[in-house]
């Protein structure tokens, strides 16, 4: 078991490195970081451009630049932006914002998604099942930026109806907020509701669909009948034997769902004005900043692979046949 997980981990580290190199190389090839400087009016003297060129090491080959950057990353230095700001200074705050958003959205998405899926499977072809199916089809067909925008306007309408600001839709907290600990918590929560929903809704839709079909596969199985025949109530049999078995295929899905989450996070952060990693990524592409883009890619790769590793562990924990 430990050996298997360790080998997986080693491969993941390699994949992380390769993915980051891919982003770094593609960014270095397509971005023109001097474009903004050259486009200035009046044009800056050639020496200034040459100095910037040297500062960004643009004359060195890309692999050499990557090795130099990665060498810094190993020591906790993520290089600096084009304008010379150290990336490490901003990284912590940005990663924190994204992680808070992702963590809550994922936990909510998985928990509600699994519950909705199980409920639909048990009450198959009832009105609630059709409603859940319709909901997930609709959500999975709606891009996150549309969901986010609609949620924003829903919040606006709600605030108008309530006559006061119940739900905020910009930022993580009110700037210059004064008040006690509880008031601050309430303030943060009312900022959190809409973005978390934007993240969680698509996760709920995705997981509930798969959980429903996984649960349906289990419902007709012999071991469930046996469990009931041996005296377990239907409810106990369903949750103790049925749900556990139906969760196994879901473990691998959680890793796949994570890519969706990251992409959704980019839109959510942009729409609701959260200055997280996704927002930073878009900024990095717009500014043609390779280091920012590579840093965010590394962050994403680590998260995706960590969730993949976690789903390996979950798989092993849920499936008694796996003794690695």
């Amino acid at each position: 078991m430990t050996g298997f997980l360790a080998r997986r981990l080693a491969n993941y580290v390699l994949l992380c490195l390769a993915a980051t190199f891919l982003a770094f190389a593609l960014g270095s090839l397509t971005f023109s970081p001097l474009g903004q400087l050259q486009g200035r009016n009046p044009a800056p003297p050639a020496s200034v451009i040459a100095a910037k060129r040297a500062e960004l090491h643009l004359d060195e080959p890309i692999p050499a630049r990557f090795v130099a950057w990665m060498g810094g990353v190993v020591h906790g230095d993520f290089g600096s932006t084009i304008t010379g700001q150290p990336i490490t200074d901003e990284l912590g705050a940005r990663a924190g914002v994204s992680l808070r958003l992702f963590a809550l959205g994922t936990v909510l998405g998985i928990a509600v998604g699994v519950l909705v899926g199980v409920a639909s499977a048990i009450r198959q072809y009832k009105a609630s099942d059709y409603a859940a199916t319709l909901f997930s089809f609709l959500v999975l067909s709606t891009p996150v930026f549309l969901i986010g925008t609609l949620l924003k306007f829903g919040g606006l309408r709600l605030n108008e109806a309530a006559g006061s600001t119940v739900l905020y839709y910009t930022g993580e907290f009110s700037p210059g907020f004064q008040g006690g600990w509880w008031a601050a918590l309430a303030d943060r929560l009312s900022h959190l509701v809409l973005p978390t929903l934007a993240i969680a809704l698509s996760q709920i839709a995705l997981y509930s669909r798969y959980q429903r079909s996984a649960m349906l596969d289990v419902l007709g199985s012999d071991f469930l009948r046996t469990a009931q025949a041996k005296g377990l109530t239907r409810r106990r049999a369903l949750f103790k034997h049925g749900l556990r078995t139906a969760l196994i295929p879901m473990a691998t899905l959680f890793a796949f769902g994570f890519g969706l989450l990251i992409t959704g996070g980019v839109f959510t952060e942009r729409i609701f004005g959260w200055y997280g990693m996704g927002d930073w990524f878009i900024y990095g592409v717009q500014q043609n900043d390779t280091n920012i883009v590579a840093t965010v890619t590394l962050f994403v790769a680590v998260l995706v692979l960590f969730s993949g590793w976690l789903s390996d562990v979950l798989y092993a924990a849920l499936d008694p046949r796996i003794r690695l």
Partner: protein, 314 residues
């Protein structure tokens, strides 16, 4: 296309259907699939919607005097009216003409990406599964690598390279980064098909590998490929509109549903027509594509859990 499939499932499924004496087995399978598909009311509605959307996107512009880049200086931000069916934008562009143009782009991009990406997935998946060994390991490592970074991020990084160039580059990129999961499924199926008697027989009579793959392995997974191509169409449309939303996809002066929604969101409360039509058509398109994919899955793959259960409940 699906009529000529020698699907392993078809033998299991056909006894249930009454044999048509004058029709040979092949078209019998086609009829069976068609009948199963038609049983899905939502999928049929979806198919009708897709046809209608294509007709709207490509024939609709004939019925409006306005071009998508044309500006009407007499009407800025006017609500929907007889002159401008979907209203006009801030600089007097006809939103109806723009929305149709965007719909054309999204439908075409989705269809092309679905076809190209499924082709890549079929080639990579069968090669990895059939040849095994280091080919398999190398290809699957590439799949893992590309799955680590979401396609959206890679294409966003590449976006400066195709700024101001044709949108076909966007199609190629979208296809290049959306074949991985299908390739994995194809590989798994190839692994089991490779050991079947008809493949072994072909191999021992000296048929070259590429011909075995094309003649014996691919036809047996045509249903999965068709289903996945449909699903990829939906995903591609969503990714394309997402990229365009940030200005990383279809570039102005051309429009896509994503750029239209992006332009409309800021003023959507006061001028809802800027965003409602493009948003609504986008959701309708993806919803129809997904429901057709769902119906195809049930019709082509009777062993899929949902399909068989649906049928027993009918």
């Amino acid at each position: 296309m699906s009529a000529s499939i020698t699907d392993p499932h078809s033998t299991a499924a056909s006894p249930g259907s009454p044999a048509q004496p004058l029709i040979e087995g092949r078209s019998g399978r086609g009829r069976l699939v068609l009948r199963r598909f038609l049983r899905h009311r939502l999928s049929v509605i979806g198919l009708v919607c897709i046809v209608a959307l294509y007709a709207l996107a490509f024939l609709g512009p004939l019925f409006t005097p306005w071009g998508y880049a044309e500006q009407d200086p007499t009407a800025y931000l006017s609500p929907p009216s007889a002159q401008h069916w979907f209203g006009t934008s801030q600089i007097g562009e006809d939103v109806f003409a723009q929305t149709l143009r965007g719909l054309q782009k999204s439908l075409t991009i989705g269809l092309l990406v679905g076809i190209i990406s499924t082709t890549i997935a079929a080639v990579v998946g069968t090669a990895a599964g059939y040849f095994g060994g280091w080919v398999d390991r190398a290809l699957m490592w590439v799949v893992d690598l590309l799955l680590v970074i979401p396609a959206f991020l890679i294409i966003a990084i590449l976006s400066p390279a195709f700024r101001g160039k044709t949108w076909l580059i966007l199609v190629v990129l979208l296809a290049a980064f959306s074949w991985m999961i299908t390739a994995r499924i194809v590989r798994g199926l190839t692994l089991s098909l490779r050991e079947r008697e008809f493949v072994l027989a072909a191999r021992f009579t000296g048929v070259p590998p590429w011909r075995i793959i094309v003649r014996h392995i691919l036809p047996n997974m045509a249903s999965i490929l068709i289903i996945d191509a449909t699903i990829t169409v939906g995903t591609a449309i969503l990714t394309e509109t997402g990229l365009s939303f940030f200005g990383f996809g279809v570039q102005p002066p051309d429009v896509s549903l994503g750029t239209l929604i992006a332009n409309g969101t800021n003023s959507a409360l006061t001028f809802p027509w800027l965003f409602l039509f493009s948003g609504g058509l986008l959701v309708l398109t993806v919803l129809s594509v997904n429901s057709v994919g769902d119906g195809l899955r049930d019709a082509l793959d009777p062993t899929s859990a949902r399909g068989s259960r649906r049928r027993s409940g009918d």
